[in-house]
Amino acid sequence: MDLLERYLQAVQFWLPKRQKQDIVAELSEDLRSQIEEKQAELGRSLTDQEVEAILKRCGRPLEVASRYLPQRYLIGPTLFPLYRFVLAVVLLGCVVPRCLIWLAFLIADPAHRGYLHMENLWTTVLYFAAFTTLAFAIAERSGVRLDALGNWSPRQLPPARDPNRIPRINSLLEIAFGAAFSVWFAVAFWPRPVIDLYGIHFVMSSVWRTLFWGFVIVGVGNLALSCANLFRARWTRQSAVFRLLSDAAGSALFCWLFRAHPLVSISANGLSPEKSAALTAALNWWMPTAFPYVVLVSLIIFATGVYRIIRIGRTAAGTTLGVMAGA
């Protein structure tokens, strides 16, 4: 019976204090009855192996004890989706701005490495995650229910989101700003020996002519797409592919601009030749230095375009919300 005593003691360890004796007495009685019945059947005492088999069938002590305990969650299934959403927002809110600030400092001064202290960042993340978890655990413990948020009605829910819809206001803004910028750009940076921009004189290399016309063509293409989107306010495979090609061309031109050393000199009224030369050298140094970041941004833009095309394909295959597929 030594094994039985040890088993009961192990179960008892995990039980709540007030119920320990009662539960163990009842379980003990059952197991003893099983053992006695088996002994009567075999006509002899059970070996340790046979007792062990009975106890193993009964289950691991912790598992057995856990069935007597009320089901407890740190954060229960009702609050968990809300907890996960809040945690994601909080963590993104504390990580993304710091990374952006670090990136900005890095672009401005590539030699600088000190503004993103990873240890501090992880400590912040840990604190935010811990406080959010604690807040939700307290809410769970206090028995907060979603009913506390007030009555709900399907009418109060936000409208179903159609990711392929292009709001007309977006197209109108794109046309207005795109046209204004294109005209300003064409007038201000028209390829000529000296570009005079509000008193600042730029002398550009011959590559500028090609870059300029490239930007103009991409700008006109984007304007045309915005006009088309105004009348057909949904992304189609064709329009998404056109936007991808246009973004790819624009990004390629930007990457080229940052590598091609298009600036020969820069000067301004009242700026000494030495300072002009220093400014030109600084700009010509900074542009190739920032090139990797331009490539990174271009890749993000390209990936967004590719994702848009994939999303259109999925919608067409009916894998998004049923309401949209049916729309």
């Binding site: 539960i23 007495a25 379980l27 009685e29 059952d30 197991l31 099983q34 289950g59 598992e63 057995v64």
Partner: protein
């Protein structure tokens, strides 16, 4: 052509889920007469409903805390045993559950 390869684990989970709802009904029905845990388990097993100790005793405690069972410790065959039986509320509840079970059973028979 796709071939059905339902996992045995999924079947086991669904089987347990299906069974879980019936256990309370089975236990209540067997406690129309007074029994202690071990004899209750044997009685259920003889009727084809096997229940291990760690399922039965927590269930008995839950049903008792809900006022559907009453229990008392008594000595029998020189050992202390806890005897359970249906309380008046338990009898009422058993009637309701049996009616509900028969409805579900009839509906499922129609569907299946």
């Amino acid at each position: 052509m796709s071939q059905s390869t339902a996992s045995p684990d999924i079947f086991e989970n669904l089987r347990l889920e299906l069974r879980r709802g019936c256990l309370s009904l089975a236990v209540l029905s067997q406690l129309r007469t007074e029994r202690y845990g071990y004899t209750l388990r044997k009685a259920l097993a003889e009727q084809g409903i096997e229940m291990d100790e760690s399922t039965l005793y927590p269930l008995l405690r839950r049903l008792e805390s809900q006022g559907l069972l009453t229990s008392e410790w008594r000595e029998e065959e020189k050992r202390n045993k806890r005897f359970y039986r249906l309380s008046p509320e338990g009898k009422q509840m058993l009637k309701q559950l049996v009616t509900e079970w028969q409805k579900i059973n009839a509906s499922l028979n129609g569907i299946l």
